[in-house]
Subunit: 341 residues, 4 copies
Amino acid sequence: MLHFDCDYMEGAHPDILRRLVETNLEQTVGYGNDAYCRRAKELIKQACGLTEGCVHLLVGGTQTNATVIDGLLARHEGVLAAETAHINVHESGAIEASGHKVLTLPAHEGKLRAEEVDRYVTDFYRDETYEHMVAPGMVYISQSTEYGTLYSLAELERLSAVCRKHRIPLYVDGARLGYALAAETADVTLQDVARLADVFYIGGTKVGALFGEAVVVTRDDLLPHFFPLIKQHGALLAKGRLLGIQFETLFTDGLYLRLGRHAIAMAMKLKRAFVSKGYRLFIDSPTNQQFVVLPNEDLDRLMQVATFEIWGIRGERETPVRFVTSWATREADVDALIAAL
Amino acid sequence: MLHFDCDYMEGAHPDILRRLVETNLEQTVGYGNDAYCRRAKELIKQACGLTEGCVHLLVGGTQTNATVIDGLLARHEGVLAAETAHINVHESGAIEASGHKVLTLPAHEGKLRAEEVDRYVTDFYRDETYEHMVAPGMVYISQSTEYGTLYSLAELERLSAVCRKHRIPLYVDGARLGYALAAETADVTLQDVARLADVFYIGGTKVGALFGEAVVVTRDDLLPHFFPLIKQHGALLAKGRLLGIQFETLFTDGLYLRLGRHAIAMAMKLKRAFVSKGYRLFIDSPTNQQFVVLPNEDLDRLMQVATFEIWGIRGERETPVRFVTSWATREADVDALIAAL
Amino acid sequence: MLHFDCDYMEGAHPDILRRLVETNLEQTVGYGNDAYCRRAKELIKQACGLTEGCVHLLVGGTQTNATVIDGLLARHEGVLAAETAHINVHESGAIEASGHKVLTLPAHEGKLRAEEVDRYVTDFYRDETYEHMVAPGMVYISQSTEYGTLYSLAELERLSAVCRKHRIPLYVDGARLGYALAAETADVTLQDVARLADVFYIGGTKVGALFGEAVVVTRDDLLPHFFPLIKQHGALLAKGRLLGIQFETLFTDGLYLRLGRHAIAMAMKLKRAFVSKGYRLFIDSPTNQQFVVLPNEDLDRLMQVATFEIWGIRGERETPVRFVTSWATREADVDALIAAL
Amino acid sequence: MLHFDCDYMEGAHPDILRRLVETNLEQTVGYGNDAYCRRAKELIKQACGLTEGCVHLLVGGTQTNATVIDGLLARHEGVLAAETAHINVHESGAIEASGHKVLTLPAHEGKLRAEEVDRYVTDFYRDETYEHMVAPGMVYISQSTEYGTLYSLAELERLSAVCRKHRIPLYVDGARLGYALAAETADVTLQDVARLADVFYIGGTKVGALFGEAVVVTRDDLLPHFFPLIKQHGALLAKGRLLGIQFETLFTDGLYLRLGRHAIAMAMKLKRAFVSKGYRLFIDSPTNQQFVVLPNEDLDRLMQVATFEIWGIRGERETPVRFVTSWATREADVDALIAAL
């Protein structure tokens, strides 16, 4: 059976496992105050071109989103996000469980539009009843999005400008940032993200690590007292150095970007095959998630040879599905899938 | 100046104030354990035709919604509501502040459609990722709605049937239930609401009381341990008998319904005047909130003689506005407003 | 039957009811933006000797405490309070329900000691693990306390100095502030409270009003965005003017203090009787709550003629009990109780 | 430098790392629905002697406590725990952040006494005001405790009986359960814990794993809908199989217990040395945490050769400190430390 369900089906890149083995019996202090974490954070800041701010290493995406958003918002504020945002759909209400409303805007293939954010915030304060409503306190986007799409540099600049105009932070969920940066059409660099976002995270779980997300806080005055908040959210790893070692490895010799590129190459090969065989793309994604509409007979046939995700609910005659590649996808598997189309 | 801003601009019906004065120096125990509260609750149960269940008396609408919803939902559940629902728009995130997500469905002049609720819940459990999503744990509607509209008996029966099919409670926000029951076109009685909803509240604040909302729990097994939850939500009035006296008065000799009818009569007179003078209704409301689209020149002129609410944001050439009547609206004021149209 | 259970057994002072009747059919805007509220707030600021800061009018004590504390604390902070504090014992977990820990210190007849607060905060930051602990973010005291006792001016000044040294706000729960100010031994004035606390509230519910607590914020930079937080906590009264009218009345012609003095006079008469008849005081309280230890035979006998509260749990041979007087206590009732001792 | 700070200074037992390497490129579904997790859960249920109930695998202790306690408590309930409990002191308010109060009882060398729990719950419901207070909804203990001490079988049976009498669940935090089970004086087996507790967790982070805690739910009717709650708390690991592989390894061939025994042997050797050299034990602990009172000159000298934790705050002349051994402690290091005493 071939597997294209998601980008977290394997363990970690062998370099990471090797480093975990090499360092296994070293003794370090806990909670991320060790030398590996320090080096990882320094490497990340360098890669981001940051001279101020700081980096925090957390375990998973949902806890990272909940902790960052809880740290950025005041009690009367909510977070603006696309209807399709992971925090709005697939985090079991983690944002609301910490007391904050997700304020939704229309999703355009998973993306927010700067002008719609601008209008929302502007109109909010023009409404005479606004003090009875949840104030838009920050903006959440994901890069790449839940639909595999990318914000272009121009789009990101416009969104950032709108946020700065209204003095609300822009937060980028980078669970798949490695794949976003590596896309063939990408014009947004890591430094761009660090320049245009206020806080973002660099996803490790889906891009080569066993687990781990690196939260980059781009200015010193953001997220004060974040450490106890991480602890309060249950997101503080006792053996923090496991995160340090993984991110140190990912940010040495460009491994993170190389992993991204491999996944993209596999995804593009697959996409070209879909297109050339006449399948309709559900979304034209430049990243490692490929969405295609399958006639149900093809769907049933492919399910005999491969696992992948039905996107939503099976249709009457055809069904949108998602195929995901990753840093670990074997080209032979892609070829076998293509042969089976 | 004439005032049609809202239905809570005056104090209370004189009968209520008189009773408060008469009983003022009586001594009663606190927190609603007094004889006035007992009688009020009994009168309400009788009016609802309920032989089981119970009644709780709270102070205001937002606290009532937050407390009831918190009591009905498990931690992983959210509340289904129309996009325009008061809990989704105008309660400053009170539902989310107690940890629950408001799951929105399209609003049809402020109303949910039973078939859309049914489809949402059905599709939810057909989605393979549903355990990562907030489960629909109850349904919230308002009667009358934030747009002055009413669920017909047939609509309410369909909604109730959908909720019972999926075993999730139906909760009716009755802040303006008095006006809903009194509408000329109303075919839903209080007993119908008690039969079709699981929990609902009978609004006092907007219908003759100084303040107060009577939560009716229609079955004994719903909302156990609700008393400490009321306290925890800060919604327990020390001098509970103030609520008892008010609701006892409202539910004696049909006062509640009479107050509703007066407001409706005033609203209908106003609506007929708008229509006869050629104004376009923004929504055709059978209750005490009347929505009309005013050309901006008329808007500006009327603002010289009356206060009322701009519904949303002023348009370029015309603007939807809301005029509200209440139990206390003077017919002379309505006539003066009509004369000024 | 005589009633000494608590200080919220009657309605309101007749002057307040009279003003509610006089103004009943006036039309005002909602949510406290009316002229009565403005005047009440101005009168309170004058009485407090404040030239900056602001006043908010809420309905009840638990919601006031929860809202203020939620507004003052960051997410990683808790509130320091005596073990016996109302927020720690009798608010059904309202503080924790909004996410904050009550950090308890020993109670000395209901009071915190400044040096113990100082030591707690100092030691907290000397503990190497403090970032894993809930930071002391504010101090809560009540005046008078749950045990009827008072902070002297010297004690309050020391507490205030400790708070300012550590840059954490001091909040005074003044549910019974009227009785504290009126005590014969009181050396703390309302202006002292306003000078030494950062935020406090002036209780109306227990001191002459139907309900209502006036939150005094003594500086402009404290509690920004408090209005939506009040709404979020369900503590915003639609007909806000009811609070304005009540506090305007209480702060006109010194009514608030006069009401306090009456209750104190009644309490002292009762206390002298207890002492002269040889009963042991459980606590020597200078305010309207009197605590005395009754042999169980006397307890049983008195329960035939009067209602009062057993303080905790009935003992084997004797039991501490609480008798409470109020602004409304009739001297004839006190005399009758004394006669029955 | 020798390190005795804590029991999470190294990575994982080499068998675990080896298994992670061996399985690294296998593809499995996420979120714990893989075969490794199934086998691990089965092995744990067998070791516990359970035929019903289930096992959940989470990442860390604080998130585990917060998620389980949130799942077990109703909104109006709190968790009874010793003052020194980890949830009360060192989890940054995670329990309160999810809305629940920690109700504290005196700690006797870190332990609760069954009769004090019994009295608390009994007295609670005898207090007439109990509906205004947070109800004791469950009991939390740790085995071994934060002070290295153990509940004997008799103590655990009494606590369990009290909980069952009052129908509130008993939850055991087993972050160091491996060391508790392996203690020389231990008379409590894993099966005993499974029989006497309602929910407990078997700590992996401190006993041989990179990370991971196995929550054992001993009955089918406890903790329904726990999966979405894990997700909501940010405690769901994407690559769940990493937890499965680790616990499968720990529960194969008795590894978990062997790791425990090694740490205990090292701790006892150290303790005997302290005692024989005349140091006073701060607490007489039978497990891997050893507490001793050091004269400050000895403290300063030892800090040159070893790291360990000052327990609380440095005293004027002597200071309690904690030395911790683990599954990974080298006997040579223990010998070197003893030589340096």
